[in-house]
Subunit: 303 residues, 3 copies
């Protein structure tokens, strides 16, 4: 989950805990595995697998960080490197982002990156979240999210950075910035990205209530652009991207950049203060204590 | 009605007069009673009645200023004090605003506050209109408008400050910022509030034409969020608010504040000039003469 | 077509050329005639014919520059003079813009104005495009576009400046800012106008893909407000404008001006740099060569 401004008081955390118990099973599935401490073993299998089809100029990025593609520092670093490589490769013009894990696109930020970690680590983690957003939202490639599973919080953010979103038409999946349901707050650039996607009023209500939308509802409000049967999501993404690639790159890229510049500049020019804000908040004793209790609770739940 | 920039020329007023005759009966009903001079008798019954349910944390504010809850200085002062009290009371987390008067939610600003009054009075009046908007649009409470009657101009503004709007499904009621129909202009913060609710294009057309929407049409453009049979509006509001209260207060409040900050700051930092602009305009001889003629006409109409 | 930032590289042009061959017959019809060099003979018939009905206060402006009302410097100059005259005439309160040419409203900017011309000429041309937009988007009159034919690029821009758009319900017509399809980019004020009309997300997708919408689709996204059988478009525009004229001018004008001020100010305060940017770009040898090849190709196509 995109963890940020909130939990300033103990009540925030208790709200979070009480909320938790009423969460749908889908969400529980997405988040509980985050508790398993991730080993920083660089010989582990890659969390990102990229297939690049030279003939079409389209790369497919499979997120394969079991079990739920949680956005850890390692995961984000790998993802950013992959995107950067593709961005530098002039023969790569389009990028499809999808999940290799069952039932989930990405469960969002990895809480373990913010618990019991040094300010330096928390800062590095937050910088990697920003970097992922900056790289994807400002990409020169055509980007299509093939959302083949649930996509809460940071997962939804990642999907929203893309030029187009196709979601599996499975009513058990959902998508949205549900931070408030967990007692936390989406940062301003999450908000801006959603406003640019579904408008001010829908964003105001969705964020206050932390709404997770089923695919049909997400389509209705414009949070996703198209629904497809689950086994046809990637094929549909491939078809879509070929339509976008029919447009001369240069004109399309300038247009995209002009449309998103203001939103991107807002984070770029506030990046350090945004990190500082996050670190100050997350390293507070009360917050750390809350996070600890929260993770303890999840462990018991799982057991 | 929200009276402001317009009527700068005689033609403005004659436009207003000619417009009037073509108004629907609903509107006439709403506005004509404003002519009855309101006595500043503080022993009069309260214009606002608040029921607070400690068990749910929800207050219901009944507007009961006969006949049409026109927004007079007294009314607005009482309303602002009531809202402030609730805001200070940490046990109060939600606020439902509704009308105790039949057929009308609120008819908008009270014209008698601007006719034959000193610049000081007009300034104080305008400040109270700003104050109402600032208090409600920036409220930390969950606010739901239970719109059980027509809600033109300032009444619509008040409804739009809320987090959610439920309107009685009665085609005889309507809602909208109809200022131009009366030859006047909604101030910038009315416009901003509507833009945040229904978007730029709909606002542009609605405000230029001074459109009053029937409930079904208001729902279609997103000016209200839900329709209910008239006798179930408050029950539906209660149900809705309990859903919003399931979200941890702190996270919801920060989110709301972040979403509305820019709009609120714009008035806060221009408050005095906005008052000065209003006072300069409204105290002009030509405008006062026009207002007088207008009120005279309405009196005759009523007789 | 609105020609601007793009074609910076040879690839831009080849993209443009390859794109061209896949264009619909409607578009080909619109653009190819632009190749016929227009003679600057001031004894040619007027390109704009205005009918003003003193009794209603409504002027109808017929664009009659065969074959496709391309926006040449002469055409734009004549159009601006006509609009200014009407604007100065207090008895004229409304303006309907329509085409006297079959099948097309306007095909957009005239490419011949940018090929083989001096920097001074190109600058004057671009200034006239800006002027057209400023005059129409900021008009005090009620403006209604009676779109009785296809309306790509600059033609779509002109339609979007109006207060209301009625389009002929003929599926062979289309409307949109299709610049990227031709390898070029809509300037920022084209983008802003579209954002104000259909919102950020729809604009982002429409502009990146250079989408041309059939009337039914244009209605769905709000790019036009109403469809009518082709022979009833002007009658419907007349009916619509009378509804807008029922609103007192002064209040409506202030409202319109307040709603559009920010967008207009952005161009006004960047006008010279916007011209300089255009001239620097369009007079580059590589671009001129590309334009030449492009026009040559179209000539052959036509022959």
């Amino acid at each position: 989950m995109a963890l940020r401004a909130a939990l300033r008081s103990r009540s925030g955390l208790s709200g979070l805990l009480s909320q938790w118990s009423s969460c749908s099973s889908d969400i529980r599935m997405c988040v509980s595995p985050l508790l398993v401490p991730q080993q920083r073993n660089y010989s582990t299998p890659p969390k990102i697998r990229v297939e690049f089809d030279q003939s079409t100029g389209v790369a497919v990025m499979h997120m394969q960080s079991p079990p739920v593609n949680s956005l850890s520092l390692d995961f984000l670093t790998e993802l950013c490197i992959s995107v950067e490589k593709l961005e530098m490769d002039k023969s790569c013009r389009g990028l499809i982002i999808t999940s290799a894990q069952p039932k989930v696109f990405s469960a969002g930020l990895d809480i373990t990156e913010m618990y019991g970690k040094s300010p330096e680590h928390c800062g590095a983690f937050w910088r990697s979240v920003q970097e992922m957003w900056l790289k994807l939202y400002g990409s020169n490639m055509v980007t299509v999210a093939a959302i083949n599973g649930s996509s809460p919080a940071g997962g939804c953010l990642m999907a929203m950075t893309c030029d187009y979103r196709i979601m599996a038409d499975n009513p058990r999946y959902n998508i949205g910035l549900n931070e408030t349901q967990l007692g936390i707050v989406a940062p301003f650039w999450f908000m801006d990205t959603m406003k640019n996607t579904v408008g001010q009023r829908t964003t105001e209500m969705a964020l206050q209530l932390g709404l997770l939308y089923k695919p049909a509802d997400a389509l209705k409000i414009g949070l996703v652009d198209q629904l497809e049967p689950e086994d046809q999501v990637i094929a549909a993404a491939t078809q879509t991207i070929s339509r976008w690639l029919a447009i001369p790159d240069h004109a399309r890229q300038i247009t995209k950049s002009m449309m998103r510049k203001k939103t991107i500049d807002k984070l770029t020019s506030n990046r350090e203060s945004d990190i500082q804000y996050f670190v100050n908040f997350i390293t507070k004793d009360s917050i750390q204590k809350s996070l600890g209790g929260y993770m303890e609770m999840l462990k018991k739940r799982k057991a």
